[in-house]
Point group: C2
Chain length 145, copies 2
DNA sequence: AAGACTTACATCGATTTTTGATATTGTTGC
DNA sequence: GCAACAATATCAAAAATCGATGTAAGTCTT
């Protein structure tokens, strides 16, 4: 009831919200690792395998073989890094982007359905928090370095 | 700059925030499925295998074998459901609860570090949004049924 | 500019996880 | 008490992941 921020409670509600937000019926059945790789490549553009590795919860051989499979399936492209003959630059193909976009669209749809059930005041509060969540994410990204 | 809620942008920022929020250095190396099962059992108390199955992204045989391993490792308990001779009630042991609690504590710590870098106004906005996020999660839970 | 070292990614065999098909046992409605 | 159904277990096969190690390109030292 105070306007003090209770981080423990915030953490809990994010955890709970995520159990709903994350679990999408993945149209084709990609596993978690695959979806994460596609999402990361979608966000952070072309990446070297090693840089991609840093954000994924996989060891390098597993990522190499996953990437090989995704290339075969036409979801990602591999091209040699022009600045380093050892490295490969990975990026999404049109098809790969389409999958990421489609999952994002599903989330937007579901969240829209939920948000529609909020009161106008609650929606306004949520609208106001978007920029704070953005700031939080930026800070987290800075801290990572 | 308006106070209209842009759900697409909200979705994006949640996606991005989660890539930071989710990725914890899991102390013992539990995989995603294991952590999800522990978290769900921690939240929703004793559950039958089938009910647990509904929230996890696994087929039933995989869950049965995961649960068997977790029981052997002393993280969960299995007891027959007194109301249904076919069913098993699953719950966390003290050790299992400790793992869930410890991961939660890590998240609280990390989020606290981030929140400390916000301005007081930003923190207040976040505090105000906690109850809306809670509402949103409740609505989502209702819709699930 | 040659050798030593390091870095980026690939390969390989072993292990773990997950799956589909099916079995087993208990429950429910008639 | 029998047929249909439901909850979980079993099992063999497929898929995912890992640790160890290989190969080749870059960097550093002298």
């Amino acid at each position: 009831m105070t306007d003090e921020l209770d981080v423990d409670r915030l953490t809990t509600v994010i955890e709970d919200f995520n159990t709903i937000f994350i679990r999408l019926p993945s149209v084709r059945r990609f596993n978690f690792s695959t979806l994460s790789v596609l999402h990361t490549l979608g966000r952070r553009g072309p990446l070297r395998l090693t840089d991609l590795l840093a954000t994924e919860q996989l060891k390098q051989p597993a990522l190499t073989s996953l990437v090989a499979k995704l290339e075969q399936d036409g979801l990602i492209q591999r091209r040699p890094d022009p600045t380093d003959g050892r490295a490969m630059l990975l990026s999404l193909t049109r098809t790969g982007r389409e999958i990421v976009r489609s999952r994002h669209a599903n989330r937007v749809k579901r969240l829209t359905d939920l948000v529609d059930q909020l009161t106008p005041v609650e929606r306004a509060v949520l609208a106001g928090s978007v920029h704070v969540l953005t700031r939080l994410t930026e800070i987290a990204a800075e801290d990572r370095q």
